[in-house]
């Protein structure tokens, strides 16, 4: 470990100042560059409509990315977020379109939000138990739901696209407060709450302690297992919420596509926002910054008529660049 790090440091001596600057402000710089590029080249960029579309899209990435940031802060990773989105998204229409949901619309909506979120928490609990109690590596433990979660959603819906018309449920994805999308405000509220959790509660301090040095945290008598399980449960419930929002935006639930590749977006957003894959840092607002960058890159490519396939390659380059720039961050 130490030999590797000295190598990296020696390699970076020349442009250390530049590198340091880039590392601490890279995300903001990238955002400025993208926005300037769009103002110059993308038609109709500076319009309320553009802002609205981007906020409503970015909110789901940001919500999942915040959960992912907490997981990554403990040195873990959660590949199951996209599958949990699909599962929660498939459950909601099943519930409010059921006989019970039709008979008692209000209760139906409450159940259609609460039960999928409960299922999402359960998925997180499952991940957390495997990781904390059975000491399974996070990549592998979350692989189980990554593989089967979407399958369960498809079995539940027979693979059908569920379309519906339910204005009160759709408020999650199409509602407006002060002219801006409801889910944008929701993401902001979650960010403030999580920021408070990370900086002001013992639970939050333990998240960082586990990522910094799990063994030390354990020897210090910290509730390592409980904190780890809690982190995966939070990530699970946030993924479930994002799944509900996507379904609400579309007024349709497609288990095959809801949250597809979201794990990549979320990891990329967390890393671009400054999370270290080794753990120990939980930049909640960084995750939002990262999500905004990922979304704007997607939007920029799309608005300028570049194909989806090339956008995939661009995303790959962003992830690699972000991780590479951060490599030397860990002192």
């Amino acid at each position: 470990m130490s030999t590797k790090e000295t190598e990296i440091q020696i390699g970076n001596v020349k442009n250390r100042d530049w590198g340091k600057f880039l590392r601490s402000n890279g995300g903001v710089l990238a955002l400025i560059v993208i926005v300037l590029f769009n103002i110059a080249f993308t038609p109709n960029f500076l319009q309320m409509q553009t802002l609205f579309v981007n906020i409503s899209q970015v909110a789901t990435i940001a919500i999942v990315a915040m959960g992912m940031t907490l997981v990554i802060a403990t040195g873990g990773i959660d590949l199951s977020v996209g599958a949990i989105m699909a599962l929660a998204g498939a459950l909601a229409p099943l519930i409010f379109s059921s006989e019970f949901g039709q008979a008692y619309p209000t209760l139906g909506i409450i159940a259609a939000i609460a039960l999928p979120l409960a299922a999402a928490v359960f998925c997180g609990l499952f991940n957390g138990l495997l990781i904390a109690n059975l000491k399974v590596q996070p990549i592998i433990a979350t692989l189980i739901f990554f593989i089967s979660g979407r399958g369960i959603a498809q079995v539940l819906t027979n693979g059908n696209l569920q379309t519906f018309s339910n204005p009160s449920f759709s408020y999650l994805g199409t509602g407006k407060i002060l002219g801006l999308p409801f889910q944008g405000w929701l993401a902001l509220a979650i960010a403030i709450a999580l920021y408070f959790v990370v900086t002001r509660t013992t639970f939050g301090r333990y998240i960082l302690a586990i990522g910094g040095n799990e063994r030390a945290a354990e020897l210090a008598g910290g509730p390592v297992k409980r904190v780890k399980i809690g982190v995966y449960m939070i990530c699970g419930v946030l993924s479930g919420l994002a799944g509900l929002i996507v379904v609400a935006i579309n007024s349709a639930s497609d288990a095959a596509r809801n949250g597809n590749l979201m794990e990549l977006d979320a990891i990329a957003a967390a890393v671009v926002g400054g999370a270290l894959l080794q753990g120990g840092r939980a930049p909640i607002f960084g995750a939002i910054l990262g999500a905004v960058i990922i979304q704007l890159v997607k939007y920029t490519l799309l608005a300028n008529g570049i194909e989806d396939e090339v956008a995939l390659i661009a995303k790959a380059v962003i992830i690699l660049a972000a991780v590479y720039i951060q490599q030397a961050r860990k002192e």
């Binding site: 059975l134 692989l143 189980i144 498809q154 693979g159 396939e309 995939l312 690699l320 991780v323 590479y324």
Partner: protein, 333 residues
């Protein structure tokens, strides 16, 4: 010193209950299939089973090498899709050009992974994730998001559709040959021992003067090449380069490796057990298909993923238990 290592390893395998469990499970499943379904042992089922699973065997073995170093390669599925398109484009020149060409394309992606992991020091998980996206995008770009039909006039489709000496499909013969070579590499060469040593402890391996970087680069190149070979079999067996295939293959490969008893932390692993793991997973689905055909159950295609996940869960539980028992034994001795 190397010899004693090899000896210890074999003893280790014989002590590893999971290797036994996998062999026994495979034998029992085959027996079950033979008794329950009349066409199970028929030439058609065996040929199509081996043809289809030869792709998974080869990427699983490549993955096994990567995992033994403590790394992971998530790009194999996309790389196989990419190389299947390359193979389809090269098919008019015959298999003797298309095969090396596609494998080389796979090795190129492996080189990108190796560069990211060894030179840039990016964690394998992220590096290969990026390659997965890049290869997927690349496959769609070079194919125009269409399946690319192969040249049926050349000998290209022989690989996936005909049998060597009328006994075994060419695909499994080629894969079998590669697997044997890789088994020798792992068990009998310094390179193979270094791969295991890295997984056992990278820093210690560096301090021992082992060529760690070279061996790490090798496993990613190898995994890329194996994915390339799987791409050739894919294009040859289905008569088309398929840019949209390969989704979830990395998971099947990881599952095969884990089922085979290779530790995900690296440092221990077996080529043969991985092959058996891949066969076992393939067989589970083969039997489910037969069961569907009999009408006793009717599983939609969606169940496949659920069952695959459940299977992985069972194996993880088993491994966790075995490992727990092992560490208890360690503290006692």
């Amino acid at each position: 010193m190397l010899d004693t290592n090899a000896f210890d390893l074999r003893k280790y395998i014989s002590r590893n209950p999971q290797s036994f469990a996998v062999w026994i499970a495979l034998a029992l499943l085959i027996l079950f299939g033979l008794i329950r379904y009349e066409n199970f042992g028929g030439a058609y089922n065996i040929t199509s089973f081996l043809n289809y699973n030869s792709m998974f065997i080869i990427i699983s073995v490549g993955m096994c090498f990567v995992i033994m170093t403590g790394g992971i390669d998530l790009s194999v599925g996309s790389v196989a899709a990419f190389t299947s398109v390359v193979a389809a484009y090269l098919s008019p020149y015959g298999i003797e050009v298309a095969l090396p060409g596609a494998v080389l394309a796979g090795v190129c992606f492996g080189a990108i992974n190796a560069f990211s992991v060894v030179i840039l020091r990016i964690p394998p998980f992220i590096a290969t994730l990026a390659t997965m996206l890049g290869a997927k995008g690349g496959a769609l770009v070079i194919s125009g998001a269409q399946t690319i039909s192969v040249d049926w006039g050349s000998n290209f489709t022989k690989m996936g559709m005909e049998k060597a000496l009328n006994i075994l499909p060419w695909s499994i013969v080629v894969v079998g040959f590669v697997v044997i070579v890789l088994w020798v590499v792992l068990e009998k060469t310094t390179l193979g021992r270094t791969v295991l040593a890295i997984g056992g402890g990278e820093d210690a391996s560096v301090l021992m003067g082992l060529k760690v970087n070279r061996a790490t680069a090798f496993v990613y190149l190898l995994s890329g090449g194996c994915a390339g070979l799987a791409g050739v079999i894919l294009a040859s067996g289905f008569g088309a380069g398929q840019p949209l295939e390969g989704i979830g293959w990395e998971l099947s490969a990881i599952a095969s490796v884990v089922v085979g008893g290779t530790l995900l932390t690296g440092g221990f692993g077996s080529v043969t057990a991985t092959v058996v793991g891949a066969l076992l997973l393939g067989l589970v689905f083969n039997i489910l298909n037969f069961e569907n055909g009999k009408g006793t159950i009717s599983f939609s295609a969606y169940w496949q993923m659920v069952i695959r996940g459940g299977f992985l869960f069972a194996v993880i539980l088993f491994q966790a238990k075995v490992n727990a028992g092992r560490s208890v034994g360690k503290t006692q001795s």
